[in-house]
Every structure is written in C-alpha cells, then in structure tokens.
C-alpha cells in the first residue's frame, strides 16, 4: 500500500546498528506502545569526542525502523555538535523519501537524538511534558512541541503538523488549538521580518555596495573572478561579472547562492539580482 523507496525497504529488512550500547554516553527514548511507535537510541563517544557507536531499538512500522536505522548510520563519526544539526529532513533525504503520513517517523528519530544529547549533557532523562502543556491528548503533543515544529519547518496548516508529529490526527478536537498556535507563529515570524529598520534608497544602495565589497568580492576573487555593481532600481540589483566569472559555467548559481543570498540577508528579503 505504501510506496517505499528501495532504501527504506533495505533499512527495514536489514536494519543497521540494532540493539543497545553498553554504558552509553547518551540515551534517549521517545514514544510509547500506546502511540504505536517508540525509539530508544544510545550512543558512545570515542577519545576524539566523535560518536563511535550508535544503536537503536524501535517499536513501529517499516518507516519507523528504517528511519531509526538510517539515523544511527548518519550519527557514526560525527561530533555531538555535528549530530545536533541533523534534522528529520536529513533522515528523509538519506532514505530517498517517506510518504507524508510517515514523516512523523523521521521526526521521532530527531526527538530521540535530542533526548540522547540532552541526557549526555545533563545526565538527566528528557521529559517533554516539562515543556509546555498537552494540547493533543490522543498523541500527547504539547503546545511547545507544536510551536517548535511549526517554526522550524515553516508549517502553515494543521495537516502538515499532523504529518510531522501526529498531533490532531486522532479525535481532531485539538485542531482549532493547533491552528491558533500556527497563526501565532506565522504572526510572530512576519513581525520579525517587518521589524528590520526601513532604509532610504540611498542607504540601501550604500549597504548593497558595502555587502558586495565585504562579503561577495572576496569569494569571487578567490577563484579569479569579480563583479561590478551596475545599478540598483528599487529592489532590483544588476551586476556585471568580470574576470573568471565571465566564462564560468556555474556563474548563474553564484549569482543566486552567493550574491543574492548575501544581499537578502544583509539588506532586504525582497532583493532580486540580475546579471547583465
């Protein structure tokens, strides 16, 4: 019934790193029998503070088992700081894809990782109920949890929240509350971006020039290239590539990933960069 990728099927049929590390440095358990999924993750560091061993035990469907197996593979060799940056999307990418109703299995992986790292750092057992109040009683999801998922993953509908953490997927009575949380998060994020000080056109051009000089030119020059700022018309910035950039096959990528990105971060989200 589910269209699983070959990688999901492989990690389900031949899961890696099954079991529990002896005397682990970090241990995290999330989920429950009642939920229909649960994951216990343990890891151990080597003398270079890198994860040498990571093991899992999972109660759950093929997606849950595959996500847990994939997670342990991705953890081995990483430092704690590197491991901490792993998201559930990384797990999904590693597996190729997951059906949207199974995204929560990868989220479970991320949560177990957080709990294990918390345990490593504090020696304590992570209790998510300490964070916020339960909004979804069918699946035990708290308001803080839903808010965090909505913010981190930029989710805008209750259905997306359900796919990510199951909240709202049972009796559905908490859906109005979930929608209220989503609207609050969207409002806060909007206010944040509007809170940037408004620039005059002159100030904007000066900031664009500064950003190009400080952030963009050094990158291009490293590879023998450069650019000239040609014009700024409202939010449209036109530039001319020179040197090695002229004949570079990926200059269009540089235009967006380096030039436009830097200007959007430093000056305004609305900036669009063109090459002439």
């Amino acid at each position: 019934m589910w269209e699983y990728t070959d990688k999901v099927t492989d990690h389900f049929k031949n899961p890696r790193n099954v079991g529990a590390v002896e005397n682990p440095d970090g241990e995290g358990t999330v989920g429950s029998l009642a939920c229909g999924d649960a994951l216990r993750l343990t890891f151990k560091l080597d003398e270079n503070q890198k994860i040498a061993e990571a093991k899992f035990q999972t109660f759950g469907c093929a997606s849950a088992i595959a996500s847990s197996s994939a997670l342990t593979v991705m953890l081995i060799g990483k430092t704690i700081e590197e491991a901490e940056r792993l998201t559930n999307n990384d797990i999904i990418e590693y597996l190729g894809d997951l059906p949207k109703q199974k995204v929560h299995c990868s989220v479970m992986g991320r949560e177990a990782l957080e709990a294990a790292i918390y345990n490593y750092r504090t020696g304590k057992v992570f209790d998510k109920k300490l964070e916020g109040e339960v909004v979804c009683h069918c699946f035990g999801a708290t308001d803080k949890e839903i808010e965090r998922i909505a913010r981190e993953r930029k989710l805008t509908t209750a259905e997306e929240i359900t796919n990510a953490c199951k909240a709202g997927g049972g009796c559905g009575q908490c859906i109005p509350e979930i929608e209220a949380i989503i609207n609050r998060v969207i409002g806060e994020e909007q206010a944040k971006s509007e809170a940037r000080p408004k620039l005059t056109q002159l100030q904007k051009i000066k900031l664009i020039e500064e950003t190009i000089d400080r952030q963009v030119r050094p990158i291009l020059r490293r590879d023998g290239g450069d650019l000239e700022l040609h014009d700024v018309d409202g939010d449209r910035v036109s530039v001319k590539f020179v040197g090695a950039c002229v004949s570079c096959p990926v200059s269009s990528v540089t235009l967006k990933d380096v030039v436009e990105n830097q200007l959007r971060e430093a000056v305004s989200d609305a900036i669009v960069v063109e090459a002439i």
Binding site: G36, D37, L39, T58, K102, T162
Partner: protein, 388 residues
C-alpha cells in the same frame, strides 16, 4: 519460487473459476441491454431473473423481487440506511454500533451531522453487544432505523441478529443488517426473521468486485439512492451489470452447495492456525469472542511489535494478511473495532487478522506457522520494550 499464501479473504476473495466461466458469454456473445425491445437484448433478462432467484435462495428470501442488485456492499448499506430514514420521514432516531464497517458508519455520521439523533451501541471486551442497551435505545417512543451487522469483518464475532431485530421491531423500528461477511460463510435466513433490510457483497463470496445486493422485505419503504431508470423495479436505476449479476448468482449457488463442507474445512484450518500461533508465539492473544465467530477468521495481537512491520515481513515470504494497526491504515488511529473492545493500547497496534477461504490448504497453515514465529521474534529483537 515464492508461493502465495492468501489469508486475507475478509478483505476480498478469489473469483471462483465456475463464476468466471459463467460470466464470459455475457461479455462475448450476449451483451445486449436487457431493457431492449429486440430479443438480442431482452433475451438476456431471464438470466438476471435466474441470478435473482439464486441470491434469494442463499438468504432465504421468499420473493426474488425482494433482491435489488447494487454495485457493492457499500452501496447496499448506504441505500438501506439513508433510503429507509428518508422514506420514513419525521426524523427517526438512528441506532448503530461502534464496530460497524465504515460503509455503515459513514451514512450514520452523515445523518447525525444533518440533525438526526444517532445512538451508538457499545461492545464488551470480547466484542459482544449488550441486549439491555439495545432494548433501552429502541424504546424511546420515537421511530427508529437501526443498522447492526451480522458478523464483524475484523474479529469475525457474530451478533445475535434475531434477538436484536426482534427488539427493534418491537419498538416499531426498521432493522437493517450488514451481512456482507456472513453471507456465503454461514446460513442466513430472512424468512420469518425480524429483518427488513440486508446487505450482501459479491467479492466476499467468490464473485468479482463491483457487484452487491440489497434485500428489501416486501412492504419496506426505501427511497432510491440512484434514481431515474426503471431497472430493479425503480428501486435502483442503471443498466444492469449483466455479467456480474450472473456471476453473483452463480457464486451464491456455489456457496449454498458448499457451505456446510467449506465451513467445516475453514474452521479446522483456522483452529489449527490459531492454536499453532498461540503455542509458538509468547505474548499473543486472540481478539474477540472465540466461541461465537465466523469459522474462517482469527484476529491475534502480538505484544511489543507493530502490525505493518509484521505484514510486510509476511508479504516478503508470500503470505497475505491484514492488520488493525494505525500505521497501515492511512489514518493515525488504530482499528476502531479493537478500540471499542478496549484491547489494551499496548496490543492494538500489533494485531493481525487471518481470514481463510475454501481454497486454503493445510500447506498454507504450515507455511504461516513456519514463518510467523521467526518474524515475531525478529521484530521483538528490534523492540525497546522487550528485555531479555
């Protein structure tokens, strides 16, 4: 070569070879419209009449015209419930149970959303109804339309339809029963019974998917679902699906001939399978009243492991079954039937349903008993809840 062991017959059954054979001429040679004036079309009508008699005979209906052909069990359920409520007028009270098939719960909830009062009967831990509750619900002084299934598709548990029907009729109501899972497996007889409406589904009794029937007792008023044409005496419009009607008739005839022997055969295999599983797998329990079930069904929960994972591993070795687990349902909630029976949450996600047919063999049971314990053990090794 991987042999297929098909033990998911409550989901659908193989079309009997005899059924396929009798359908073919109605695709290749006699494909006329039964309502046509010419003999090429009109001559087909007698085959529909013959099929109608075969279906009527299976359920003990006195008059073949009490059988209306539909496209499936879901259509029969919808037509029965919404049609009876609509024809009754005056906003009747609707009664059903928590463990009905979605094709019954769907129209019941629709009616509730549209202002009808809906009462839902509970079941106990073995899936049995409380007749006292039935009595209470049917004596509100209001007219009632009740829909209560005969056999449960997930657990096989049988409801005391005669007693339930009698209570509903005493209270002046109309009684419909979804007999989709029992027709063809165990004797069903509506003659003299307190049953006004009864649903049948072809693909559960070795006819193809896409054909069903609704028994409407003479004198019972039902507003048609599909209106317009005169077919089925104006009760269900649409050019008759001739080959499938003929196929359903044949399947019913076969069921009548074979029912006694088939049910003994299925019961023996089911009991052997169930005993074998309980003996070789620790932490396993049967869901549902074992002494009062369809002969072909067993629903078993395995502690600490999850249903979809079990099914996929069974599928890998060619064994086809189904589960009440949330993960395999497309929604996030596990089987509403198991939840209504208060199956502990620790076991509801690890439930597997095996449902047999006349075509299963001892070799099939041997295969399952060989593979399943290994699979359960393997998944328990993966589980965080099992400490060894």
């Amino acid at each position: 070569m991987k042999t297929s062991v098909y033990v998911d017959n409550n989901a659908t059954t193989a079309v009997a070879p005899e059924v396929v054979e009798c359908m073919l001429p109605f695709f290749t040679e006699q494909w006329g419209n039964p309502s046509s004036m010419h003999t090429f079309g009109g001559g087909v009508k007698k085959h529909i009449d013959a099929a109608r008699e075969q279906v009527a005979a299976l359920i003990g209906a006195e008059h073949p015209n009490e059988i209306v052909f539909t496209s499936c069990g879901s259509e029969s359920d919808n037509m029965a419930i919404r049609g009876a409520v609509d024809a009754m007028g005056g906003h009747p009270h609707v009664i059903t149970t928590r463990v009905e098939h979605a094709a019954v719960l769907g129209p019941c909830h629709y009616l509730e959303d549209n202002g009808y009062r809906l009462s839902t009967l509970e079941v106990d831990g073995q899936g049995n109804l409380d007749l006292a509750q039935v009595r209470e619900f049917s004596r509100t002084g209001k007219k009632t339309v009740a829909s209560i299934m005969w056999a449960n598709n997930e657990t096989g548990v049988l409801f005391p339809v005669q007693e339930v029907g009698a209570l509903i009729k005493e209270g002046g109501g109309i009684f419909h029963t979804d007999a989709v899972q029992i027709a063809g497996k165990l004797p069903v007889c509506v003659k003299g019974a307190p049953i006004d409406l009864l649903s049948i589904s072809g693909h559960k009794l070795h006819a193809p998917k896409g054909i069903g029937a609704l028994y409407i007792r003479r004198g019972t008023k039902v507003t048609p679902h599909i209106m317009g044409g005169h077919q089925e005496r104006g009760r269900r419009a649409g050019t008759e699906n001739v080959p499938y009607i003929v196929g359903l008739g044949k399947a019913c005839e076969l069921a009548m001939q074979r029912m006694q022997a088939d049910s003994v055969h299925e019961r023996r295999l089911r009991d052997r399978l169930e005993a074998g599983i309980l003996a070789t797998c620790k932490g396993a329990r049967v869901n549902g009243e074992v002494s009062n079930r369809l002969p072909n069904t067993t629903n078993i929960s395995f502690e600490y492991v999850e249903g979809e994972a079990i099914l996929l591993m069974l599928d890998d070795v060619g064994i086809c079954a189904s589960t009440g687990s949330a993960c395999a349902s497309g929604s996030l909630e596990p089987s509403h039937v198991l939840r209504a029976m208060d199956v502990p949450r620790s076991m509801v996600h690890g439930s597997i349903r095996f449902s047999l047919s006349r075509y299963n063999t001892d070799a099939d049971i041997d295969s399952i008993l060989e593979q399943l314990p290994r699979i359960i053990n393997r998944l328990r090794e993966l589980s965080p809840f099992v400490q060894d």
